[in-house]
Symmetry: C2
Subunit: 157 residues, 2 copies
DNA sequence: CTGCCTGCAAACTCTTTGCACGAAT
DNA sequence: ATTCGTGCAAAGAGTTTGCAGGCAG
C-alpha cells in the first residue's frame, strides 16, 4: 500500500524515533502513512480521518501528540495561514525557503520557492540585533477566472 | 487625557461610525481611547483591560465587536503572528506595506517597511491566475545580546 | 516487567453568539 | 419611541492534558 518512495522516508521516521528514545507504535506509523498519503496541505482533523482509515484505533490526542514529532524531525512543515487551524505539508528534502499563495476562492495553498526571503530576514534582523529563526511570506489572493467566468480552474473540491 | 494628535483621529472614528449608521457609544469611545493609548502591539485582552480603566462597563464582547469596526475603518491593522491570538496596531496613514520581525526572546514585534512585498505578490499571483489581496512577511528571530550577555536591550516587560 | 504511549473525556484559550435589557438618535 | 448596542453567559473551534489501562522494548 505504501509507495516505494515513502518507505525510505518511513525509515527516517523510525530512526528518528529510535534516536529520541521514542517508541515505534502502530498509531504513529498509521499517522505517518496518513500524512504521506496527502496530496496537499492538511489539518490535524484531515490527518485523523485518514489515519483512522488505516488504523481505527488512532485517537485525536495521538494525532496532536505525533504532529510535533513529525515537524521536529523535519518530515513535515507547519504552515500557519492565520485561519485558526494549523496546516501541515510534507517537507521537501532541500531546505528551501517557501512562501505561500493562498487562494481565498478555492482555499488552495500554493507553495512557492522564495529564496530571497532568507536574505531579507538576515538583513532586517541584524539591524535589530537579532538572528532570524524562521521566516514566512504569504499572499492571500483571489481567482481572476472565477470572477470573469464564474469558474475557478484550480477548484478541486 | 486624550493627546492632541488623537483628537483628529477620534473624529475620523466618529465620522466613520456615522457614515455606517453605527452609534457613537461610550463603550466604543473608551475602546478607541484604550487602543490609541497603547504603545505597542496589543491583544483583545490587553485592550479590554485598558478600556475598563477608562469605562468599567466595557465588556469583552464589545471589545471583540468593536475591533472589526476599527480595522475596517483602517484605524487599526490586524497582525496575526501565528500564536493563536490576534494582535492589533495603530495603522499608519500611509498605506505602506509592512513586515514584522518578532523577537522570540522579548516577545516584541517590530514593524518594518517592506515595499517590495507588493511587487512580489503581484508577480507570483499573476502566474497562478490570481490577484493579490493581502500579503504578509514575518521573521521570527532571537536576540543576539541576550545569548551573549544574558540581557536583551529591547526587553521592556 | 517497566515505563512510555494510548484513548477518553475534560479542560483550556481565544473568539463568537443568543438573549433580554439599556441607551443613542 | 424605535432600534441598535450592550453585558452576560453559554457555545464554538481547535488544541492540550490528566488519568487509568495497554503495549513496546
Amino acid at each position: 500500500m505504501a509507495s516505494v518512495s515513502n518507505d525510505a522516508t518511513k525509515d527516517q521516521f523510525k530512526s528518528y524515533l529510535a534516536r529520541k528514545g521514542l517508541r515505534v507504535t502502530n498509531q504513529r506509523l498509521a499517522i505517518f502513512d496518513a500524512a504521506f498519503a496527502q496530496t496537499k496541505h492538511f489539518t490535524a482533523e484531515d490527518l485523523l480521518d485518514q489515519a483512522r482509515r488505516i488504523d481505527d484505533s488512532v485517537s485525536r490526542a495521538t494525532v496532536y501528540r505525533t504532529l510535533p514529532i513529525m515537524t521536529e524531525s523535519a518530515l513535515l512543515r507547519e504552515v500557519d495561514i492565520g485561519t485558526g487551524e494549523k496546516y501541515y505539508v510534507r517537507n521537501p528534502q532541500e531546505n528551501a525557503q517557501m512562501a505561500q499563495v493562498i487562494c481565498l476562492d478555492c482555499d488552495r495553498i500554493f507553495e512557492i520557492s522564495a529564496p530571497f526571503m532568507e536574505w531579507y530576514g538576515n538583513t532586517v534582523s541584524s539591524k535589530l540585533g537579532l538572528t532570524p529563526v524562521t521566516q514566512r511570506l504569504q499572499v492571500s489572493a483571489r481567482c481572476i477566472a472565477l470572477r470573469e467566468t464564474g469558474a475557478c480552474k484550480n477548484k478541486v473540491t
